[in-house]
């Protein structure tokens, strides 16, 4: 028997309604991320701090981009090249839209490269990233020429840190305008919805983005600085993702079937600076309590002994719960200038004691190890463990840990002689410039070379690397400088941190060496 047409129509109507209803009630795909650092400002040029940059990079982008392994890739600039030693040309992508619909042009880029220099009142701005730039010239709508003051091969790396804002909206805008959202118009995959300082930033997908369409309509970036609170929020399902899984919780989250952990070696390297310029550095005394005749750290054998005494694998396993890789380089594996042939110093307490005796300290001596207690992963525990390990070979170590603010104050006043520091860089020559180069204020060398290590050969190689606009040549030079400095123990490397993300099992993320968390790179499995 045939079905009456009305009956069929009825079914068709019902199906139509059902599908409409389904799309109406299908919830928007939302991603809730828990960030670990305090965001202080939404102005992308105000403060060069990772939390600020993390949220800013959802809304803005830069000329050059960095892939998860810290290699430079095209960003808003499709390609770039060095025309000669001092001139560079950047070709912009065409058809890139800002959130207000207008197109990105070289004018916006030129403006954005200038803006960091005009920011007032910032305790740590971006001026140093454009220090090498002498002038910019807009050739046409999509082409920009940059002239540097001196040959500078690291220009593309430096420009990665300068986010491009819309000239129209950012002209005369200050941090308040960005915090309120008025000037927060960028080209990035997400646009501003709401900001509650200290609590969260809400974003919505920018459908006009040039890149691959992100999976999430809505993104909430929540700020949860307390480690246990962040873990608890992930465990209870309140957050889909957390960055920097506390080391104590890694095992727990791994065992949980509903969650997963993704990790990779981070660019952050933990190292110990040793005073190599004062004959009688503070905090160092002989085993009998009297000052020593000379500075033991200036003897390479003593530095090597200390390096041998540090049980890096025990620290990685016990203190860092697996979130560390023993280090021998100034930069992490995979980073520009890393030399894989350098191996971490194996644990050798007997060898250490022998070296100490050889150097003239058979009974050891007393030192004070200083460091922060609220900055790097398990920094205070690392200090205590290093102290324990050194005490075992006869170097009785006292620990002085303080909040980063107080600690840096003491360091700058030169009150410490054995100090912990964590450093992240995506090029060995840039890292060398800050950490190992002979301190030279007018050239900007050695600003963080607390031990005042000075080696002219290393300086020369480093300068050559930085000036080299030929990338492969530069890498070779940087690697050579790195190797020289490390073999001479310019400082004592401890480990490279491993950065981790905890997320619900249905998500996937390519872990990034630069530790950034980007909502648009999370995909459902």
């Amino acid at each position: 028997m045939k079905q009456s047409p009305r009956f069929l129509h009825g079914w068709a109507l019902l199906l139509c309604l059902a599908s409409i209803a389904h799309s109406a009630i299908t919830p928007a795909a939302e991603l809730r991320i828990g960030l670990s650092g305090e965001v202080t400002s939404l102005d992308p040029h105000f403060l060069a701090a990772q939390p600020n940059l993390t949220v800013a990079r959802h809304v803005f982008e830069s000329l050059t981009d960095v892939d998860p392994q810290t290699r430079l890739i095209p960003g808003l600039a499709e390609r770039w090249r060095a025309l000669d030693a001092l001139n560079w040309e950047f070709n912009l992508r065409r058809g890139v839209k800002f959130h207000d619909g207008t197109e990105l042009t070289a004018e916006d880029v030129a403006f954005s490269l200038q803006r960091p220099l005009s920011i007032k009142g910032s305790p740590g701005g971006f001026a140093s990233f454009v220090r090498a730039v002498e002038s910019t010239a807009v050739v046409d709508k999509y082409t920009l020429r940059v002239r540097t003051k001196y040959p500078y091969g690291a220009l593309p790396e430096e420009l990665n840190s300068i986010l491009i804002v819309s000239k129209k909206h950012a002209l005369n805008a200050g941090p308040e305008d960005f915090d309120s959202g008025r000037a927060l118009i960028g080209t990035g995959p997400y646009r501003f919805v709401r900001y509650q300082r200290g609590d969260r930033l809400e974003l919505a997908r920018h459908d006009g983005w040039w890149g691959r369409r992100p999976a999430w309509d809505k993104v909430t970036l929540r700020i949860v600085t307390a480690d246990p609170s962040r873990t608890a929020a992930l465990l209870s399902g309140e957050l889909d993702v957390i960055e920097h899984v506390p080391s104590a919780d890694i095992r727990n989250i791994n065992k949980n079937k509903k969650l997963r952990v993704m990790q990779t070696t981070s660019w952050r390297t933990i190292l110990l600076h040793v005073d190599q310029y004062r004959p009688q550095p503070p905090g160092i005394t002989g085993a009998d309590g009297n000052p020593l005749a000379r500075n033991p750290f200036m003897d390479r054998r003593v530095r090597l002994a200390i390096s041998k005494a540090i049980h890096r694998t025990a620290i990685a396993e016990r203190v860092m719960e697996g979130l560390a890789v023993p280090a021998a380089n100034i930069v992490s594996p995979g980073v520009f200038g890393h030399n894989a042939a350098l191996k971490a110093e194996p644990y050798d307490p007997e060898g250490a004691k022998r070296l100490l005796a050889e150097a003239g300290y058979p009974k050891g001596f007393n030192i004070t190890l200083a460091g922060p207690n609220n900055r790097y992963i398990n920094d205070e525990q690392i200090l205590q463990t290093v102290a324990q390990l050194l005490t075992r070979i006869g170097i009785i170590t006292r620990v002085e840990a303080a909040p980063m603010s107080a600690y840096l104050g003491r360091v700058r006043k030169e009150e410490t002689s054995f100090s912990l520091l964590g450093w992240g860089s995506f090029a060995a020559d840039l890292a060398l410039r800050s950490l190992v180069a002979t301190p030279t204020p007018d050239k900007g060398y050695g600003a963080w070379n607390w031990g005042r290590y000075s080696n002219t050969k290393v300086d020369a190689l480093m300068e050559q690397a930085l000036a080299s606009v030929d990338r492969p040549k530069r890498e070779a030079l940087a690697s050579a400088a790195n190797t020289l400095a490390m073999n001479d123990l310019a400082f004592i490397p401890v480990h490279h941190q491993i950065v981790s993300w905890g997320m619900r099992a249905g998500l996937s993320y390519t872990p990034r060496t630069d530790e950034f968390t980007f909502a648009h790179h999370f995909t459902p499995r």
Binding site: A48, V224, T225, A447
Partner: protein
């Protein structure tokens, strides 16, 4: 006259406090070191110090600060470059909401429980209430906070772990307790914060009740044949209410201060957490602004309580009238 004198005192306090704190904070470290770009060189560091005015002599910096303070400008936060006072005011509603909710919990539970314990001090009810109050008094807030999160959020999953719920604007002030989701976020931190005061109130009410019950007027009322409930309601309650209310008023300031710990654990976006963060990064303007705001709030609360007490206590009123 009385009010004027108190106001004068308050102004003096503010001045002294600000000077003390300003001098002290200057002595620790250098905020530039924390917040500066790691790749920056000495020249830029020096430039930044000059720009933020950190190299001027102490008294000059204080003078700039003071002249600004009089006009309501307490300096700009180093980390965020927005006026420090704005940062504090932005976070104040959250802290006040938490503190007030905690006080409400403490009062609503504390007075009845304390009354009960006072009326039946040697029964098992009375004794268990007292035992509970001693625990609530002695347990460190931070420990209880984590236990609460572990039990109610992680294990049982009834309540959210951290953060504040969605807010609605009431008279321009964002509040979160008007929605069910907002309340769910508020319960754990408010209870955590309330515990200490709750125990305090229970003990206070119990002590007051016990004393009142032994008074002659209670015995007299009983002898007259008044029902027990009446006795309690009319005589005992009224007499203990005045000192209890005064304590509640004074303790409000303390609750706002203790919220610092609760806010840290529950990631509640209030002023207390802002203070701790500012201390860690040496954001001087914010620290000083917070202290001035808190001092101002305490002085106001104390003033109000004094006035209220004078109004409520008939003995004082009568004396004044003479």
């Amino acid at each position: 006259m009385f009010v004027l004198r108190r106001l004068g005192q308050s102004a003096l306090t503010l001045f002294v406090m600000s000077a003390l704190v300003f001098t002290g904070v200057y002595a620790i470290g250098n905020p530039v070191d924390i917040l500066i770009n790691p790749q920056a060189d000495q020249a830029e560091i020096a430039q930044t110090i000059a720009r933020l005015g950190l190299d001027r002599p102490l008294w000059e910096q204080y003078w700039v600060f003071l002249s600004g303070a009089v006009s309501g400008d307490l300096g700009k936060s180093f980390a965020a470059s927005v006026p420090a006072i704005d940062l504090i005011l932005e976070r104040m509603p959250a802290t006040l909401e938490l503190a007030l909710m905690a006080m409400v919990i403490a009062v609503v539970l504390g007075i009845p429980l304390g009354l009960l314990a006072g009326l039946k001090p040697h029964s098992w009810v009375g004794r268990s209430i007292m035992a509970g109050s001693i625990l609530g008094f002695s347990l460190p807030t931070f420990w209880v906070g984590l236990m609460l999160i572990m039990v109610f959020s992680v294990q049982l999953g009834w309540l959210p772990t951290t953060g504040r719920g969605p807010t609605l604007d009431v008279l321009g002030i964002p509040v979160s307790f008007l929605s069910w989701d907002g309340l769910r976020h508020l319960i754990l931190p408010a209870t955590n914060l309330a515990l200490f005061k709750l125990s305090l109130l229970i003990r206070l009410t119990r002590a007051g009740t016990r004393e009142a019950m032994l008074q002659d007027y209670v015995r007299f009322a009983r002898a007259k044949g008044v029902a027990e409930r009446e006795v309690v309601r009319v005589h005992v309650l009224r007499n203990i209410l005045i000192p209890v209310i005064t304590v509640v008023g004074l303790e409000l300031g303390s609750v706002i201060a203790f919220a610092i710990v609760t806010e840290t654990i529950f990631a509640w976006p209030g002023m207390g957490k802002l203070l701790i963060d500012s201390i860690n990064v040496l954001d001087r303007p914010v620290i000083v602004a917070y202290l001035l705001v808190i001092v101002f709030m305490f002085i106001t609360i104390n003033l109000l309580v004094d006035v209220l007490y004078t109004a409520l206590d008939p003995r004082v009123r009568l004396k004044g009238a003479r």
